[in-house]
């Protein structure tokens, strides 16, 4: 059944395409069983690319952070990433954004509305007049026959 998967052509993931490779150990008999399983997960060319297949960085550097094979660069990269990313941008930048002035006076408008509502409810007035302009002050022209 696995061979029928070849109808998927190039969209077949490589790990299934090497179905012949999968179940046959290619490592020499003296190698440990663990490395045989690991090498099956790699694309076939990885073994040939100067041994740059799946390198376990933790063997040389137990404190590997995922940045670089060189331990000093790895540690500095981690420090810089955390400092500039979290401490500077999220914390300092976040504080800056938090204290930005009230754009478009929206917060002022909300506070002013709440203040006026409280005031008018205490006095028993209607919260807002229906007419924007005072109707007694509007002078309409007399109706003219066209």
């Amino acid at each position: 059944m696995l061979s029928r998967l070849t109808r998927l052509g190039p969209t077949l993931p490589r790990i299934l395409a090497n179905s012949g490779l999968r179940f046959v150990s290619q490592s020499p008999p003296s190698a440990s069983a663990g490395s045989a399983t690991l090498s099956e997960l790699q694309p076939p060319h990885a073994k040939d690319s100067d041994g740059h297949g799946e390198v376990n960085h933790y063997l040389k550097n137990p404190d590997y952070h995922g940045f670089s094979a060189d331990p000093e660069v790895d540690q500095w990269n981690m420090r810089l990433a955390f400092f500039f990313g979290i401490s500077m941008t999220l914390v300092v930048g976040g504080t800056f954004v938090n204290y930005l002035p009230d754009h478009g006076m929206r917060e002022w408008a909300r506070r002013e509305a709440e203040r006026l509502i409280k005031l008018r409810e205490a006095k028993g007035l209607t919260l807002i007049e229906e007419d924007y302009y005072d109707p007694s002050k509007i002078v309409l022209p007399a109706a003219v026959e066209e």
Partner: protein
């Protein structure tokens, strides 16, 4: 503005002149400092709305969140690509970083352009570095096809846009966004005004993408390397949304009737792409289709042209940018370990990588628009304004929300829960770099909950 543009442009000499040993930390640090300075753009304190002005470039509350998002994304691209590029020759690594920096310059200039032709040129210019990244650093042979779809879909949509912009320049005498709001509506015969509307909007609808013109997106997102997928999903799609929001002011009143079929198409796209997600076997393809669905809601929100619709569209664009980019990073952490994107083969990972499951969980919750994350706030505003336009849209948006929740949950359960396949024996544990990358995506998303006013744009 120059304090952002010059350092970004000079990231290119930085990459070429830094010794290989310190290349990645240096580029990442410089791009993070640029991101820190870009936060000053959020201080929009001008009466007219436009700040940071010179004759070519200005920012206003609509473009500022998008600019900050794209500036924040560059260090994340660098962090995400560090591992899979480490085995490549030095000149290829430097070329990759230079392409990302150049892309960033074009994106910044596109979002801050005051003149529509400059926006158009930058909009097109972003295609080239992205095409190079997809076709030269993608992993499968399909990347060539993906590059062709990506390039030609956008180009075919945007040539009519060029003609339409030149026509607008002819009629109004200016294409400056600062005065375009105040120009007289362009009078022409009804049929030609409809064609002109489609010409103006076509490029952006393809870019968003609108369902129906979306075929380039799953290909491009899947075949691109992780940095390509991240920048495509987080920023380049939003170029389309931004362009639509800017240009629609001159298109009234034709928009009243012309928007109708596209709103319906967008909402139908939400349902259809959501259903497609439920049937995907490829993880990156699932995330790509989910982007189409979310952007469908954004398209509908923009076409509605009400303050709530536009605000919801902007909030959803920013929230989706962070969420989608986070999901692509998570998919890449899987891919680097298992070398497969097929979900059936890379499942049950909670047993092997439990800490990453926490990030998968938060990212999936963000994708399904869990309150109080801004994803929900944007979606809710768009759904409300759509309901106001026509109550029947609630059927489509409701079903769409339901399906979105289903496939987000499906993605989480497929990748994390269930039995770990027997061939997964030697997976390296999650690195500090990967945890940091996820934190830098999702913490800003959570911080936005505390100050949503920065995302409201110039509308309410």
């Amino acid at each position: 503005m120059l304090k952002i543009l010059i350092p970004t442009l000079f990231l290119i000499p930085t990459t070429w002149l830094t010794p290989q040993k310190w290349l990645w930390p240096t580029v990442m640090t410089q791009s993070m400092m640029i991101a820190l300075i870009s936060l000053t753009w959020l201080n929009n304190s001008s009466e007219s709305g436009w700040t940071t002005m010179n004759s070519l470039i200005a920012t206003d509350p609509l473009s500022t969140p998008l600019l900050v998002l794209s500036c924040w994304l560059l260090p994340l691209l660098v962090l995400a690509s560090q591992n899979h590029l480490s085995s490549e020759p030095s000149s290829r690594q430097k070329t990759f970083l230079s392409l990302l920096s150049l892309l960033q310059v074009f994106i910044i200039m596109a979002f801050s352009a005051t003149e529509m032709i400059m926006f158009y040129v930058m909009f097109e210019a972003t295609l080239i570095p992205t095409l190079l990244v997809i076709t030269r650093w993608g992993n499968q042979a399909e990347r060539l096809n993906a590059g062709i779809y990506f390039l030609f879909y956008t180009l075919v949509g945007s040539l009519p846009l060029l003609v339409a912009l030149l026509m607008l320049q002819n009629c109004t005498g200016t294409l400056s966004l600062l005065v375009l709001h105040y120009s007289q509506p362009v009078t022409m015969a009804p049929m030609s005004s409809k064609i002109w509307w489609v010409a103006c909007m076509g490029a952006f609808l393809v870019k968003m993408p609108l369902y129906g013109a979306h075929l380039w997106l799953p290909k491009a997102h899947v075949e691109a390397p992780v940095a390509g997928s991240m920048v495509l999903a987080a920023v380049l799609l939003k170029l389309g949304g931004y362009g639509m929001m800017r240009l629609m002011v001159v298109l009234a009143p034709t928009s009243k009737e012309m928007a109708y079929p596209f709103i319906i198409m967008a909402l139908w796209g939400v349902v259809m792409t959501g259903s497609t997600c439920l049937r995907q076997t490829d993880l990156k393809s699932l995330i790509a289709y989910s982007s189409v669905g979310h952007m469908g809601l954004v398209v509908a929100g923009i076409l509605i042209q009400t303050p709530w619709g536009l605000t919801g569209a902007l909030i959803l664009m920013i929230a989706h940018g962070l969420t989608s980019s986070a999901l692509f990073c998570l998919a890449n952490t899987n891919y680097e370990r298992t070398h497969t994107r097929t979900m059936l083969l890379a499942r049950g990972l909670q047993t092997a990588l439990p800490l990453m499951t926490a990030w998968w969980f938060i990212a999936s919750l963000a994708n399904l628009a869990l309150p109080p994350l801004p994803n929900l706030m944007g979606e809710l505003m768009i759904i409300s304004s759509l309901f106001n336009w026509s109550p029947w849209t609630l059927l489509l948006t409701g079903v769409g929300t339901l399906i979105t929740a289903s496939y987000s949950l499906y993605m989480f359960l497929m990748t994390q829960r269930g039995p770990l396949p027997k061939h997964m024996m030697a997976l390296p544990p999650s690195f500090t770099r990967e945890h940091l990358l996820m934190a830098l995506h999702l913490l800003p998303l959570m911080l936005i909950i505390l100050k949503p006013a920065i995302l409201w744009g110039c509308f309410p």
